[in-house]
Amino acid sequence: MTDTVDTGPMRAADGTPLKVSLARALRRQKIRALALVAPLLIFVLVTFIAPIADMLFRSVENQIVHDTLPNTVRALADWDPSSAETPGEPVYAGLAIDLQTAAEMKAHTRLGSRLNYEDPGISSLFRQSGRNVDDFGKAAMKELVAADPAWKDGATWGNLLGTDKWVEAQTAWGADKTGLQPAFKARSGVAGTLPRTLGAYALFAADARESGRKSALESKPWPALATALEQDLRAAAPESLSALEGIDTALLARTRDAVDAAAPVDYRADFLAMDKDWASPDVWRTIRVFSPQYTAGYFLNSIDLEKTYEGITKRPPEERIYVTLFVRTLWMSMLITFCCLLLGYPVAWLLANLRASTANVLMILVLLPFWTSLLVRTSAWKVLLQQQGVINDLLVWLGLVDDGHRLAMINNQFGTIIAMTHILLPFMILPLYSVMKTIPPSFLRAARSLGATPWTAFWRVYFPQSVPGIGAGSILCFILAIGYYITPELVGGTQGVFISNRIAFHISSSLNWGLAAALGTILLAAVLLLYYVYDKIVGIDNVKLG
C-alpha cells in the first residue's frame, strides 16, 4: 500500500525519528507541569516532610554524649561495665578535660539532662561538678606558666596547634574584626602527639569564632587547655615532641620537663572528693551505654524497655506506662470511631435523603460544632457530666441514681469517649454524606420493586454502596482520634489520657524530645500499618470523600 520503502523507524515531518520527537514533546510538557507544581511541592517538602524527617532523626540521634565527652568515651571503652569497680584513672583524666570544655561551652547541663532521662539524678552531678571542675585547669595552668609565662598568652596556643596560614588569617581578622573568623585548621603532626590539647583547642577556637568578639589568638586560654596539654606532655614520647615542625620545640621541651618534675594529679581521687557519685559504677554504665552516636534507647523507652550494659531489659513494673497507653489509645480510638459511625450513619442518611431545605438546616447543625471553640465544647461536657453536673442532677432528681452514688462520668475513659465522639462526629458525617448523596434513590426503589423488604433493600443494596464513605469517615476519625490530646487532657483524668498527652508532656515539660519523637514515630508507624491492613482488607480505592 505504501509507495515509500519503509525500512527504518517512523519519522516525523522534519525527519527526526518519531520516538525522539515524541519524547521531546512529552519532556517539554513534563517540565512545564513540574514547574507549575514546583512551588507547592517545595512548600510541602519544607513544611511537612522536613519536620517528619527531623522527628524520625531525633528519635535515634544521640550525639551529645559522644561530642561532649570525647576523651572520656574513648577511655571508657576499655572498662568492663559488669564489674563493680569504677573505671581507671585515664577515664577520670579524660573527664577532667571534657567536663571543663563542656562547662566553658555550658554544654554540661544539657548533657546532664540528656543522661538524666536514663538515670535520674545524674543531671545534678554534672551541674555541680561543672561548677568546680576548672580547679584542675587552674592548677595545671599555674604549673605551665611557672615553666614559661608564654602559656598565658592565647597566641602561644594558636601558634602551637594551628597551621601558619590559619594563624596569619586569624591575625588579619583581628586587625578589623569584620565577618567570621577563619575556621580552625590543625597543624600537621600535632594530632598524633598532642591529641587531647588539639581536641580542646578546636573547641576553644570554634567557641571564639562563634562568640565573634575576640580572636582566638587574643582570647584568654581555657584552663582546660592546660589540663589537656599536661596530660599530653606526660603521655608523649620526647622524640615525637622534638620531631614536631614549625613550632617552638624548646618551649615544649622546657614545659615537659617541668610537668615531669611535678607530682602527677590523681584525677580519680579529686573527682571523688568533688562528688562521691563519681565512684558509682551505675553513672559510668549509663555514660557508656549511651555513648554511641545513634541509639535505640528512646524507642526502647517507648515500649517500656530499657537499655542497660547487660542488654535490653524490661523496665521496673511501676515505670511501665507506654505500652498501656498505646493499647489504650488504639482501642479507645477504635471505640470512638465506632461510636461516630453508629451515630453518624443515620444522620448522614437523613442529610442525603431529606428535602433540600430541611437538609440544609440539618447540615448547619452538623457544622455548628466547627464554629465553636474546641475548648468550649469540651468544657461543656465537663458541665454536663461532672458529679454535680446536669446529667447527674437530672438522674438524682428522677430518682434513678442515689444522691450518694452519683455516677463518675468525667475524668475517666467514659468522659473521653463521650467528648471525643461528639467532637469527631462531623468528620464521620461529612464523608458519609457526600458518598450517600451520590447513591441514586432509584437503587432502593429498584430493590423494593424486585421484592426486597425495606431492611433487605437497605442492607443488600444501600449499605454496600455506602461502604466507601464508611471507610473514609472511619480512617479520618481514627487518625484524628489517635493523635488527639486536648480533649483527653481536659476530660480524661488519669485513666482516659492518650499517648499524645505523654508526647505533649515530653515536648513541653520534660523536654525529652527524643522520647517524644520515638513515641510519635511509633504512632505514625501504627497508623501506617493500620492503613496498610485496611488497604489489604477493604482496598484503598474503596475510600471516597465525595
Binding site: 432509584s442 429498584a446 424486585l450 425495606p454
Partner: protein, 367 residues
Amino acid sequence: MDSRTGGDAAFVAFEHVQKSYDGETLVVKDLNLAISKGEFLTMLGPSGSGKTTCLMMLAGFETATHGEIKLNGRPINNIPPHKRGIGMVFQNYALFPHMTVAENLAFPLEVRDIGKSDREAKVKRALDMVQMGNLGGRRPAQLSGGQQQRVALARALVFEPELVLMDEPLGALDKQLREHMQFEITRLAHDLGITTVYVTHDQTEALTMSDNIAVFDDGRIQQLAPPTVLYEQPMNSFVAQFIGENNTLLGTVKEIRGDLAVVELDDGELIDCKPVNVSKAGERTKVSIRPERVEFNKARLKPGAHTLKAEVLEFIYMGDIFRTRLRVAGNDDFVVKTRNAPDQVRLQPGQQIEIGWLPQDCRALDA
C-alpha cells in the same frame, strides 16, 4: 377527554386518581385508566406531565392523594411496593453496581427464597432471553449502555411478574440501538404475555411499540387510543400537535352540516372540515391538517371543494420525500409533504398555487 373507566375486566385500573406533592398543585388530575391483561400501554407526554408520577403510584413509591388504584380488581393503595410483584425498569437502569449481572438477576429470586438451583436456572433463562447468556459474571460498569438495558429488562422479568413498568428505558441509548431495543421489548412483552406500562416522551417510540397510547398533558389523559387512531383522528389540538407533524389554521366555525363544517379562516377564506370538538356556529377553532394529506393537484380534489391560495416559500429535497413550506392564510409554517415519485411536481419558491384537501382529513378541533 376520552378515557375508559376501569370495569371489572381491567387488570390495572386507575379510578379518579389525583396526586399532589406540595398540597398546592395537582400533578395528576382525575386520572381514569383501565389496562387489560397482556396489553402494552404507553404513557406519552411532554416532560413534567405526570407520567412518572403515575408509574410511581402504580409501583407503590408514591401514594395517591385521592382515588384508587386496582390491580387485578384488588385495591393496592395500602400494599407496600415489595409485595406488589410488579417488575420495573428504571430510566438509569438502577443496576446494583456492587453485584455482577448474575447476582443482580438473582436478587429478586433470593428475596423470594427461591432455591439455589432453581434460581440459577431462572437467571440463565432470563439472560438467554435477552441474549446476554455469556456475560453473567460481569459488573454493570463493564457493560455498554445497550447491554445494561438488557440486563435491567431481564431483571425486571426474571421473577415472572404479570405487570412490568418501564420509565423511559431507552432514553439513554443512541438511535439505532433504541430502535432495536424497541423491537426486542415489544417482542418479549408479547411472547411472555405480560402487561406492560411503558412511559416515554418519544412519540415514534410510542407509535411503533404500543397497543394503546395514553397521551398525557397537564396531569390529564388527553386521548387514549391505538396508534393509528391517535395519529389519524386526534381528538384535540394538543394531541394533533404532539403526535406527528401537523399544520394548524385558526378560524371560526361558520356552519355545521352533519359531519361537514365550514370554517372561516381569520383572513376570510372558507374551508371544509370534519367537526371533532366543535358543536355550533360561531365557535373558535383550530383546524388541523397532516402535511401528507394536503393536495395541490386540482384534479384529485372533489369538484366544488373549497381551495386556498398559497405561496411557496421553500422547497426541501429529503430523498424519499419533498418537503415544501408554504404561506397559507397568513401562516408561514404550513408544510406539505409529497412522495418522491417520477411524476411528482417540484414546486419552486415564489410560485403561487392553490391547495385543498378532503374534508375528512381536515379536523376542526378546540381552539
